[in-house]
C-alpha cells in the first residue's frame, strides 16, 4: 500500500500507529535478519512500556500481600489490586466491581463456572448448548461436567463462511436447556457471533449465557450490561497485559448463589474445624494469594487501551483485515478459511499443496510470526475438513507494511513448493 493511501486510512481511523508501535519494545526485534512482523496476537499479544513500567513500579515500591496486614505496603498493594478491579469493571461496564473476579485466564474462568455453577445446578439429562466455533477451553470443561453429571451437550452448527446458524440455535432449546456457552469471536476463523441476539433468545427461554470473550475484548468495545450476558470470560495476555491473569465477569445474583471453586485463605470470613463461613463475592472465588502484579498490570493495560479508544482500535483493525483479506485472496492457490460477514482480527488460510506447518516455518524465515495448527479448535477444523490452517491475527500495532511482508512470504512459499 502506498504512503498516501496509508495516511488517509490513518487519518480516517485517527490512529497514529507509528507512535503506538514505539510503545512496544519487542516490536523492534529482528528475526532471521528481517523486521519482526508479529501476526500471532490471537495467541498472545505484546505488552507496552506503560504496562512494563507499572509492573516494575509495583514490585519495587508497592509489593506485599493483599487483604492481610495493616502496614503501608499491604495497604498500597491492596489499593492497587482493587483499583485495577474497578478499572476493569468500568472497561466492560459491569454494574459493580464485585462482579469482576480475577482468574488465571479465560480457561480458568470457564472452569470456575463449570465447577461453581455447573456442578451445583446441573444434573442428569440437563442440556448445555455450545457452538461449532468453540475453543477447546469452552468445550472440554463442559464434557467433564457431562461425564460427571450425565448432561447432554448440543452444538450450534455453522455455515461454510463460519457463521453460526441461528435457526438451528433456536431449535436446540428445550425444557432441559440449562446453559448456553458460546464464543464472542472465533479464535480460529475470526467470526464475530451475534451474541447480543443469542443472549436475548436464551433469556427468552430463561436460560443463562456464558460468553468466551478472549478474542473480543482486545478488538471491540464490550459492554456486559448491554449484552446482558450472565458470564463473560477473558484473558489479560491477549489484551496487552501479563500472562497468568484473566477475568470472569458474572452477574452478582449468580455469583452469590454459586459454590466456591477453590478453598483456602482470603475466600473465608471465619474458619473452625466444625464450620467455615465463606467470604462475599468477589473474594469467595479468589482463594490464596492471587497474581497481584499481573492483576495490576492488566489494569494498566486497560488504561492504555482506554486512552487509545476501543472504537479507534476496531476501525484500524477493520481496515487492516480488509486489506489483508484482499491481498491474500488475490493469491492463486490460497484459500481463506472463515469468510463471515462480521469478522475481527483473524485471517486463517491454507496454501494449496503446502501443509500449514511448512508455511509457518518458511514465513518465520521472513520474520513473519503466524500461528499454524488447529488453534485449539479441532471441531472447527473438522467442520472445514482440514487438519490445520495458518493464521495471521492482528492487533492495533500492526501495519499495512506487515501485511505486505506476509503476502510476499506466502509468495515465496509458493515458489519453493512450485
Amino acid at each position: 500500500m502506498n504512503s498516501a493511501v496509508l495516511a488517509t486510512v490513518e487519518r480516517s481511523t485517527g490512529l497514529d500507529v507509528a507512535r503506538l508501535r514505539s510503545d512496544f519494545p519487542i516490536l523492534r526485534l529482528k528475526v532471521n535478519g528481517n523486521p519482526l512482523a508479529y501476526l500471532d496476537n490471537a495467541a498472545s499479544s505484546q505488552m507496552p512500556q506503560r504496562v512494563l513500567d507499572r509492573l516494575i513500579r509495583y514490585q519495587t515500591q508497592e509489593h506485599s500481600n493483599i487483604h492481610r496486614a495493616v502496614h503501608y505496603l499491604s495497604e498500597t498493594a491492596t489499593a492497587a489490586y482493587e483499583g485495577a478491579r474497578s478499572t476493569i469493571q468500568r472497561f466492560i461496564n459491569a454494574r459493580e466491581a464485585r462482579e469482576v473476579i480475577y482468574t488465571r485466564g479465560t480457561t480458568d474462568a470457564v472452569n470456575l463456572v463449570m465447577q461453581g455453577f455447573g456442578r451445583a445446578f446441573l444434573g442428569r439429562g440437563d442440556e448445555i448448548i455450545l457452538s461449532q466455533l468453540e475453543h477447546h477451553s469452552n468445550i472440554v470443561p463442559w464434557q467433564m461436567l457431562r461425564d460427571e453429571k450425565g448432561c447432554t451437550l448440543r452444538v450450534v452448527p455453522c455455515n461454510d463462511a463460519g457463521e453460526l446458524l441461528l435457526d438451528e440455535y433456536a431449535a436446540l432449546f428445550n425444557e432441559r436447556t440449562r446453559l448456553v456457552a458460546v464464543t464472542h469471536v472465533s479464535n480460529a476463523l475470526g467470526t464475530v457471533n451475534p451474541i447480543k441476539q443469542m443472549i436475548a433468545q436464551a433469556h427468552a427461554r430463561g436460560v443463562p449465557v456464558l460468553v468466551d470473550g478472549a478474542q473480543a475484548v482486545p478488538h471491540l468495545a464490550v459492554d456486559v450490561q448491554d449484552l446482558d450476558c450472565d458470564f463473560y470470560c477473558f484473558s489479560g495476555h491477549k489484551m496487552f497485559g501479563p500472562t497468568g491473569i484473566g477475568i470472569l465477569y458474572g452477574k452478582a445474583h449468580w455469583l452469590e448463589k454459586m459454590q466456591p471453586y477453590q478453598g483456602g485463605g482470603d475466600m473465608i470470613l471465619s474458619v473452625s474445624f466444625e464450620r467455615t463461613v465463606y467470604n462475599s463475592i468477589p473474594h469467595k472465588f479468589e482463594a490464596g494469594t492471587p497474581p497481584i502484579a499481573a492483576a495490576i498490570g492488566l489494569g494498566a493495560a486497560v488504561d492504555y487501551l482506554t486512552d487509545i479508544g476501543m472504537p479507534r482500535i476496531a476501525a484500524w483493525e477493520h481496515e487492516l483485515l480488509t486489506y489483508a483479506t484482499e491481498q491474500v485472496e488475490a493469491l492463486p492457490g490460497v484459500r481463506i478459511v472463515g469468510t463471515a460477514q462480521d469478522k475481527a482480527s483473524v485471517l486463517s488460510f491454507t496454501v494449496a499443496g503446502v501443509h500449514p506447518h511448512d508455511v509457518g516455518t518458511l514465513l518465520n524465515e521472513d520474520g513473519v510470526a503466524v500461528r499454524t495448527g488447529h488453534h485449539c479448535a479441532q471441531p472447527v477444523m473438522q467442520r472445514f475438513a482440514i487438519p490445520a490452517t495458518a493464521r495471521a491475527s492482528f492487533a492495533f500495532y500492526n501495519t499495512f507494511q506487515e501485511v505486505d511482508q506476509l503476502v510476499a512470504g506466502i509468495r515465496r512459499v509458493q515458489e519453493i513448493f512450485s
Binding site: 477451553s137 478474542q215 506447518h357 516455518t361 488453534h375 487438519p387
Partner: protein, 163 residues
C-alpha cells in the same frame, strides 16, 4: 538456520512424489502414527519375511518434512533386516535431536542427513521423526503411536497447546 538447508530439492521432490505411497494388502506389521499437535497422521505397513523387510508402504496426511522423511525412510529400509532398520531408526532420532552429528560421527544415514537441520527447529523435530517412530511401533506391533505423552519414546518435553 536457513530454511533452504531443510527444504532442499530432495525433500521437496520426495514431498511431491512420495516413494512407496499407499497400503499393503499382505502386510505382516502395521502402525499408525499421530502428531496431535500439528495434525500429522500417517500409516506405515510392512511385509516382513524371516526378519527381512520385503515390502513397505506409507500413506496419510502430513507436512512436507514428515512426508519426505517417510518417503526416504521407506526407500532406505526396504530390503534391509529389521535389526538394520532399527539401528537406522535410532541414528535418525539421534540426528534429529542433535545427539548425533553426521558431519563428524560415523552413521548409516546417507542422504537422510538432509534432515539434520531440524535439530534447530524444535517445533519441527517431531514432524521428521514421526515416520521413524511409527516404523518402530510397527516392528513391535504397537498399533498406534503418538509423538506425545507416555507413548513418546523420544522423551522430548511435550509442547503445549495455546490459542
Amino acid at each position: 538456520m536457513d530454511s533452504k538447508q531443510l527444504y532442499q530439492e530432495v525433500v521437496l521432490d520426495h514431498n511431491k512424489k512420495p516413494r512407496n505411497w499407499g497400503s499393503l494388502a499382505d502386510a505382516t506389521h502395521r502402525a499408525e502414527g499421530l502428531n496431535p499437535l500439528c495434525g500429522d497422521h500417517i500409516w506405515v505397513a510392512l511385509k516382513v519375511q524371516d526378519g527381512l523387510i520385503e515390502k513397505i508402504a506409507f500413506e496419510g496426511e502430513s507436512c512436507a518434512i514428515c512426508k519426505a522423511s517417510a518417503s526416504m525412510m521407506t526407500a532406505n529400509v526396504k530390503g534391509k533386516q529389521i535389526e538394520q532398520a532399527e539401528r537406522l531408526v535410532q541414528e535418525f532420532r539421534d540426528m534429529a535431536t542433535g545427539r548425533l552429528n553426521p558431519a563428524t560421527q560415523p552413521s548409516q544415514l546417507g542422504r537422510l542427513v538432509v534432515f539434520a537441520g531440524v535439530k534447530d527447529l524444535p517445533s519441527r523435530v517431531k514432524c521428521a521423526i514421526l515416520p521413524w517412530h511409527t516404523l518402530h511401533a510397527a516392528f513391535h506391533d504397537r498399533g498406534t503411536t503418538s509423538t506425545e505423552g507416555d507413548a513418546d519414546p523420544m522423551g522430548l518435553s511435550p509442547a503445549s497447546e495455546s490459542a
